[in-house]
Amino acid sequence: MKELILTAIGAAIVNNVVLSQFLGICPFLGVSKKVDTAAGMGGAVIFVTTLAAFVTGIIYKFVLFPADIPYLKTIVFIVVIAALVQFVEMFLKKFMHSLYESLGVYLPLITTNCAVLGVALNSVTYGYDILTTTVYGFSTAVGFFIAIVIMAGLREKIEYNDVPKTFQGSAIVLVTAGLMSIAFFGFSGVI
């Protein structure tokens, strides 16, 4: 249990997926203009990543490892993740329409999100079992959610600032991300 909590905190905060590992930069910069869209994206990422971590963990343990073909994990994982996201989109559209309205648009964007594939591959590298993989996936996505919502809040405030013309747009966002990254460095002594 203690290891699970440590893994979770490590994944969410200490080695934050966006600010330390640089995974998921694309949506982090692109979808963080308003807090609601950012929260929607973060929610979708949590949903998909947890599910994907669970499924890829199972596939690795019961299919790839026994068949002695662990090297095929890249191909199999990405294909499974893509199919999973498509399935989740269909499922939500049919059965949970309100959730689809709020999260659904972001789902296809998550397919090629480095973060999801990164989680799956990292779990294999670190040798986690299925439960730890799922927890790892969930907490990584929570870390993404925290980062993207903070960034959206900051960006909403930056709109009122007098940013020099050269830095308007992506440049000031990247500087902000750099400062956030330094802030998250402060967590490195926590565990």
Partner: protein, 266 residues
């Protein structure tokens, strides 16, 4: 060369692909959501701004409501009559013509006419003025602050800050109502496009206070109310208001107004 390993690898990857293909195919059919083709057609005709002026959640929300029969075909204020007619064709009903509305900012106190209590430098947002002493630097507590919350809200770039107050461009305005909701002082009203007389003030202060704060504000003298032949103008709370159902555009109120706060031109 370990042929078995190659075969196993090929089988696993191929098998995964085929399994997923079937999986998605089957569930694609089972989870298919029936979409009424009329809804698609209506969505294609609607302007696609998702401004919410119709009162529904975006154009797709309105399309769904029209198909279900919950909304009339002329609900979209942005598309106006031409779009209503097209939707009417799709649904097989005739569309009634609607009155084109535009937004109107009920304040004339620009930089020259209105007094300021103090000079303000800081966050330029009308909604944030609630936290500023006195509700903002303007002396008149009902006046337009000119920091542009309405400008930011407008999806059609129809509102601009000119000389310190918001001014609506009638040709660009689509009466979607976003500026009306955005103004924290509720200064913006939707009026008929061809309305010839409009009261350009919202101040409920008594005449003396109004004149101290602004050189053109409505002082509530009721000359317009007394002289209106149709009884379209009423003065309540020291501010004149025109009822456009009754107004004929004769312009008597504008002539009689001592502060000339009722605009004449359409």
């Amino acid at each position: 060369m370990n042929i078995t390993a190659i075969i196993i690898a090929a089988l696993v990857v191929g098998g995964t692909g085929i399994f997923l293909g079937f999986f998605l195919g089957i569930f694609g059919e089972k989870f298919k959501v029936e979409v009424d083709e009329r809804e698609e057609a209506i969505l294609g005709v609607l302007p696609g701004n998702n401004c919410g002026g119709c009162g529904y959640a975006g154009c797709s929300g309105l399309a769904a409501a029209i198909v279900k029969g919950e909304a009339p075909v002329n609900q979209c204020p942005v598309g106006g009559d031409p779009v209503a007619a097209q939707i009417g064709d799709i649904m097989g009903v005739s569309a009634e013509g609607g009155v084109k509305m535009v937004a109107f900012v009920k304040c004339a106190g620009d930089c020259e006419k209105a007094e300021q209590d103090y000079e303000y430098t800081g966050v330029e947002d009308c909604a944030a003025m609630a936290f500023i002493p006195g509700g903002g630097p303007k002396s008149c507590s009902y006046g337009c602050l000119g920091y542009g919350s309405c400008v930011k809200a407008c999806p059609f770039d129809a509102v601009h800050i000119i000389n310190g107050i918001a001014v609506v461009d009638k040709d660009a305005c689509k009466a979607c109502g976003k500026c009306v909701a955005a103004c924290p002082k509720n200064l913006i009203e939707l009026v008929p496009c061809d309305a010839k007389n409009k009261v350009q003030c919202s101040s409920r202060d008594k005449g003396k206070d109004v004149m101290a704060a602004c050189s053109v504000g409505c002082i509530g003298c009721k000359l317009c109310e007394k002289n209106c032949p149709e009884g379209a103008v009423t003065v309540t709370d020291n501010i004149a208001h025109i009822d456009y159902e009754k107004c004929t555009g004769c312009g008597t109120c504008a002539e009689k107004c001592p502060k000339k706060i009722i605009s004449r031109a359409g």
